[in-house]
């Protein structure tokens, strides 16, 4: 039984790594943003933390979000909408294996982005931290994929196969900006700052910043609770979408 999960995950990883619109853009965009905003302006500081350090947390969060939202949102929508998921459902594949494999892809690409960002920060941004702190931050960033997997799955369970990638873009990019992952949240107008508490990206970014001992709004426990809440709500939405799908109309 566990062999099925292993095979499904292995093949899903190969499939997505070869799909350049996923593998390249997932890795390249956060790195590019970090080079522009984190390294070029890296020496100035924000609340006692250099920008090159601060931006590691926020672009790390941004990268993990992207890897996860595209793997689940666009991936599931296309396979569901164009009949492939049904071929799998008719086979003896345990249904969970399909979703576990998407999770493995999200975590792997999320971990890859975070690792590369850390390397850039350490080599070119002069970021220094105790090993334990690097590890803790790495773990927090990669684990952040979990609630976004639920959000991606909710999108993938409702979106059409042709519009899903655009819908993910329309969720991902504004959520990154408004959640304070592109620019520090304090740079945004007050009204937008108040709105940010409704965005999972904001809570994710704040937790990652707390690992750097950067100044954060609210408590870490509060942000974790918020992310768990978002994760559960969207997992519920995804479940409704998946059940509805099985009763779809066919001639």
């Amino acid at each position: 039984m566990s062999r099925v999960y292993w095979m499904e995950s292995k093949m899903e990883l190969r499939k997505m790594a070869r799909l350049k619109q996923y593998s390249l853009s997932t890795v390249a965009f956060p790195l590019m943003f970090y080079i522009f905003f984190g390294l070029v302006m890296g020496s100035s500081s924000l609340g006692g933390v250099t920008i090159s350090r601060y931006a590691l947390a926020t672009y790390g969060a941004f990268g993990v979000m992207g890897a996860t939202l595209y793997a689940f949102g666009a991936g599931v929508a296309v396979e569901r909408g164009l009949g492939w998921l049904e071929v799998k459902r008719a086979s003896p594949m345990p249904p969970a294996a399909y979703f576990v494999a998407k999770g493995v892809v999200s975590l792997t690409f999320g971990a890859l982005v975070v690792t590369l960002l850390f390397a850039l920060g350490a080599i070119f941004g002069g970021v220094r931290m105790p090993a334990g702190q690097w590890l803790a931050m790495w773990g927090v960033l990669v684990a952040g994929a979990i609630p976004f997997g639920a959000i991606g799955l909710a999108i993938g369970s409702f979106a059409g196969p042709n519009s899903a990638a655009n819908i993910v873009n329309m969720v991902y990019l504004p959520m990154g900006f408004l959640g304070g992952l592109w620019l520090p949240i304090d740079f945004l107008p007050k009204a937008l700052q108040h709105f940010a508490v409704w965005l999972p990206s904001y809570h994710f970014g704040q937790i990652a910043l707390a690992m750097l001992h950067a100044p954060v709004q609210g408590s870490v426990a509060g942000h974790v609770e918020a992310l768990i809440g978002f994760g559960l709500v969207f997992a519920g939405v995804a479940w409704i979408g998946q059940s509805r799908d099985r009763e779809k109309m066919y001639g």
């Binding site: 095979m7 190969r14 070869r18 049904e86 071929v87 086979s91 003896p92 196969p161 099985r246 009763e247």
Partner: protein, 243 residues
């Protein structure tokens, strides 16, 4: 005991009655063709036997089990109409993955040979022609060494050569003792392959028997003419029948 059976099955989607009481059985070693115009209920019948959707009323069984059960799934394979298959896996990788779903799959090399895929086994799916793609889907349907195959319009859109090549593979499967439920638009295909055919129209079985029996009943020489005669008996306008 039949390998698959529908007994008094109806299926309603909202206001639409896709099936209005269907009885159908497939015996061991038999190839049954399910014929009918678009929207007649062929795909719905297949989806019920695959456990993808439950019947509104009536009973569906596969090897005596619920069609959605794991035990039923392990003994059957399916080639469904699919608009897009992941293109960045190779032929061999697709087959290895599907084989891992089954308890006693065929050896990978046997599946590849049985679907005629040796020369292209290391190509990415996205680089294949239409006929090659259908042969890969056929390989995925047989890789688990199933006793029963569902083929939902397996040769639609293929050129004559690819269609005939797939017929050979289907006959070989039946020759090894397998049972098949085949839906098709090509009546010539049913004539060439089927032991028995069932014509389905607007959710009901309109005629059933060997291709020869159906032709004799309608006093026609080809299954296509027989099909048209049955549709007319049922009060379909000729232009609807022919679309």
């Amino acid at each position: 005991m039949p390998v698959a059976e529908l007994r008094g099955v109806t299926k309603r989607y909202g206001q639409v009655e896709a099936l209005r009481g269907i009885d159908l059985s497939i015996e061991p070693g038999e190839l049954v063709a399910l014929l009918g115009p678009n929207g007649a209920g062929k795909t719905t019948a297949v989806r019920i036997l695959l456990g993808l959707t439950p019947p509104t009323s009536g009973e569906a069984t596969v090897f005596g089990h619920d069609p959605a059960s794991h035990r039923a799934k392990l003994r059957r394979g399916a080639l469904l109409q699919v608009a897009k298959v992941p293109e960045t896996l190779t032929v061999r990788e697709h087959i290895e993955l599907f084989s891992s779903y089954y308890e006693k799959p065929l050896p990978i090399a046997f599946t590849i040979a049985a679907a005629g895929l040796e020369p292209i086994q290391n190509r990415l799916f996205g680089a294949l022609s239409g006929g090659q793609r259908q042969r890969v889907l056929f390989a995925l349907a047989i890789c688990g060494n199933p006793d029963l195959l569902f083929l939902d319009e397996p040769t639609v859109g293929l050129d004559v050569e690819s269609r005939r090549a797939l017929w050979v593979r289907i006959r070989e499967f039946v020759g090894r003792g397998g049972s098949v439920l085949l839906t098709t638009h090509y009546l010539e295909e049913a004539d060439a392959l089927a032991h028995r055919a069932a014509v389905i129209d607007r959710g009901r079985i309109a005629a059933e028997g060997t291709p020869a029996e159906i032709k004799a009943r309608t006093r026609t020489s080809g299954l296509e003419d027989a099909f048209l005669a049955i549709m007319r008996e049922n009060g379909n306008a000729p232009e609807e029948v022919l679309q």
